[in-house]
Symmetry: C2
Subunit: 337 residues, 2 copies
């Protein structure tokens, strides 16, 4: 087996099952394994309510399985490092989650995940499982108003999980949930910036190559390229990103917005606080009200020095689901009002 | 000013005030600034209850200020990067927190912090402020049963904040809190392991120098030296650390223990899940019950590739305060029972 000299692992081929086993041992009151690489709630919600399910590769911890629990996800189907889980495993999860109320399958727009989801949904429909898909495509690095197919799903899925999970707990139907989620998807935009790459935990290769002093705006979650330029200050970086995100979601003065900085890897929280500070001030200067903020590791890319800025225009119901409704998952807890 | 080419910052001299300003803008419902580099709860608890206060340098985010909020800290006094805040600022915080019930000042054993705290307490006592100190010294890298003065305070302070904060909310007196805290301090031990160093955000210098393929067991939070050896597997690392920690806290079969992996920087959560898995199994094999687990960024050291393993023998009250009592802070939320 490949000798990995940069990480604390055992057999590179066993990274995914071992990390999931460790995860459910750490939070047994909240999460459990329901088959190979399928993470479920330890205390499932009532079957009369719609199940919220997602899928994606490992290596992005705490995403996506870190948000399984009351008020967010009911099930996360996990692939190997940076790899889609395949249709059979997704189908297996859909069988576990089968219910009259239906399953809402949230799919981040990456080709492998989309293919796994589409095939699994075909298999599920043949055996009478009610399932609808909700595709996320919050990345704006392909350009403002780029075709949806060209826009990847980034960490904007995490607040979406919070909104959908809270609405599902309230008993919203699958059509109502789809409307709530699609409305959020139209109003959310994410942009990533990276400054140092990271190594793949199974082959020790750098997933991209960024020289010191250079930043890349728009880098994808697996090293996909964006635009390179010399590193500028935190304030200039934040200002540029806010401007680009606002071009996409086009808020108007008086709008409530959500600003989340997703810590992707080795960029420190110290830096992200400084980025948040300037982004907040820029948004307030444009006349928007930041109704919800967060600076947290949500969806990482190994030790890449990078962050994602997530900006959303919030309707009243979105804000209420995000801030006031209870969530009890390992990596997102809201006490609720 | 020094040009920093590895981080998203502005003026290196302004890192601390800027990061704190960003922090309170992100979580205005929970935290606020009560003077230069003093973080307070936005909704303070009743003055009839003992205040829990701590102090320490910045650069370790989310620690220590990330745990200010209901059920944990009432106030965090922040120094510059890796530097103690100085006696005057600590004294200012003690004046803000002055109350009949008293103030419990939790001090991590680092010489600058200890000096700042001692001088501030002398100043406070002269003006009639009731304050007691609680020193933490969970690091075991100086050797098993080393004199307390030689043992630094590591991330074991964070579960201590949770315990003390919950007990203070219940209305425990300052003497009762001291007893609860000292009993936990005797039963907790922490060990750090590092694999790559990090740069100081104000002068761009590496804080230590670790060659690839080498790990250092016992590295301190500011690059202080431990013992170097070739990198071994995650399982072997976890086993060695559990053995050392158990030599210090000497649990006996049937004991409840707390196992927390503190993510220090660029070591990924994927790796830490794998470490947790083996550590948990080792503890269960020794006959202990892991009553409380967590894998999280608590106290970081910039982008150092490193983690700290925190092991504590838990009494029933400690377990109850940790798991069942409500906490509402930006980086530790417990819904409570």
């Amino acid at each position: 087996m490949t000798q990995i000299k940069t990480k604390f692992i055992n057999d590179p081929e066993q990274v995914t099952p071992e990390l999931l086993e460790g995860y459910v041992l750490a939070y047994p009151d909240l999460v459990t394994l329901g088959g190979e690489n399928i993470v479920l709630r330890t205390h499932p919600k009532d079957e009369s309510k719609v199940a919220i399910v997602t899928l994606g590769g490992s290596g992005h911890e705490p995403a996506l399985s870190g948000f399984v629990g009351e008020g967010m996800l009911d099930c996360s189907v996990v692939g190997d490092v940076f790899a889609a889980p395949g249709a059979q495993r997704v189908f297996q999860a859909l069988q576990l989650m089968k219910r009259e109320a239906g399953i809402l399958l949230v799919v981040l727009n990456h080709s492998g995940d989309v293919m796994s989801a589409n095939m699994a949904c075909q298999l599920a429909e043949r055996v009478g499982i009610k399932v609808k898909q909700l595709l996320t495509h919050d990345d704006i690095s392909a350009g403002i108003d780029a075709p949806l197919n060209d826009r990847r799903g980034l960490a904007g899925c995490v607040p979406l999980f919070k909104i959908l999970g809270a609405a599902a707990e309230e008993g919203k139907t699958i059509d109502e949930l789809t409307e709530i989620g699609e409305r959020f998807n139209k109003q959310v935009a994410t942009l990533a910036v990276a400054m140092r790459s990271c190594t793949h935990p199974q082959n020790n290769a750098m997933i991209s190559d960024l020289p010191e002093g250079i930043m890349e705006i728009g880098m994808g979650q697996h090293g996909e390229g964006g635009g390179r330029k010399p590193l500028v200050s935190a304030d200039d970086t934040a200002t540029e990103m806010v401007d680009l995100l606002c071009q996409q979601i086009k808020p108007v003065a008086g709008d409530q917005v959500m600003l989340i900085i997703n810590k992707v890897g080795s960029t420190t929280q110290m830096e992200l606080n400084i980025i948040f500070r300037k982004a907040y001030k820029e948004l307030e200067a444009k006349g928007f009200k930041v109704g919800m903020g967060r600076i947290q590791e949500l969806l990482t890319v190994q030790e890449q020095a990078s962050f994602q800025m997530i900006l959303a225009k919030l309707d009243e119901d979105h804000l209420d689901y995000l801030k006031n409704k209870r969530a009890d998952t390992p990596y997102w807890t809201t006490i609720g009002k």
